[in-house]
Symmetry: C2
Subunit: 135 residues, 2 copies
DNA sequence: CTAATCCACTTGTATTTTGCAAGTGGATTG
DNA sequence: CAATCCACTTGCAAAATACAAGTGGATTAG
């Protein structure tokens, strides 16, 4: 499941990120962690896109293997597991915001707050900082 | 193959971009158009990652359907087809540069020029403009 | 103390997508 | 006019995905 340096198709940076995150589900988990404050398996399962439980388990495992997500036991409920983003995971924020901005321009049913696009154009750095403090 | 507004799993912007571009191959084609000046089917086929010809044909079709890539006949060789990015496709550049920057930080075999990361940190807007003029 | 419930998964199976090899058909070149 | 180039298409085996059901340990309710 994990890559060693020889198993990559190439060392192009675009290819590198695609081999870690390039599928239809993985970034939805990152989104839930980054923007929606989700932390539990059951919370990811409950997202609008209806991810299946085996796919979710597999993606969380890959994300942990790749050092993007970490797991720990909830100290208050010892049968629960808390997922969170590592530093490496949090550094995906600027890319995620660019994705959000692009989609807000081209999805005519987008649920992005129109104020976001304006704020992003006007004060991108400030927005990034604010989101980082949140997460 | 194409989406209508009801067929999306959700209207989350991250989900929107994933449904257009979220797989292990599509963005490699965008990369070749954006950064490598490729224009012909055979050039995409020849990339380092070894995309299969049926997958390439399928992804080019989806990209065209989604308005990210356009096709025209090469006026100088009428049996050749030139692929190029639309405006919508070119607007993926900032996201692609964020991906490149992230990978350059975390792939220890990255082939990204170390000067890129420094320039990106120092003068992101200028870099984006320069790349856009190129493409 | 015990039964029911919650939680984070795992398992099984049908369907879909992918990867690989080979082939096609029209335009161009020699 | 035969060979080659180009942009695909086809067939098939292997892998990944979707959906439904089940599991096993910890917590809660009575």
């Amino acid at each position: 499941m994990q890559h060693n340096s020889q198993s990559y198709r190439s060392h192009c940076p675009i290819n590198f990120i695609l081999e870690s995150l390039g599928d239809k589900w993985t970034l939805l988990v990152v989104r839930d962690l980054l923007f929606k404050g989700k932390r539990y398996y059951g919370e990811f399962l409950a997202s609008d896109e209806n991810i299946s439980t085996n796919i979710l388990a597999n993606r969380l495992e890959k994300l942990e293997t790749n050092g993007i997500v970490s797991r720990r036991i909830d100290p208050e409920h010892k049968s629960k597991i808390i997922y969170s983003l590592t530093e490496k995971g949090k550094k995906l924020l600027p890319m995620m915001l660019e994705m959000t901005y692009w989609s807000s321009q081209y999805d005519n049913c987008s649920n992005v707050d129109p104020a976001f696009a304006k704020e992003f154009e006007r004060n991108r750095e400030g927005l990034i900082k604010r989101f980082l403090e949140m997460s």
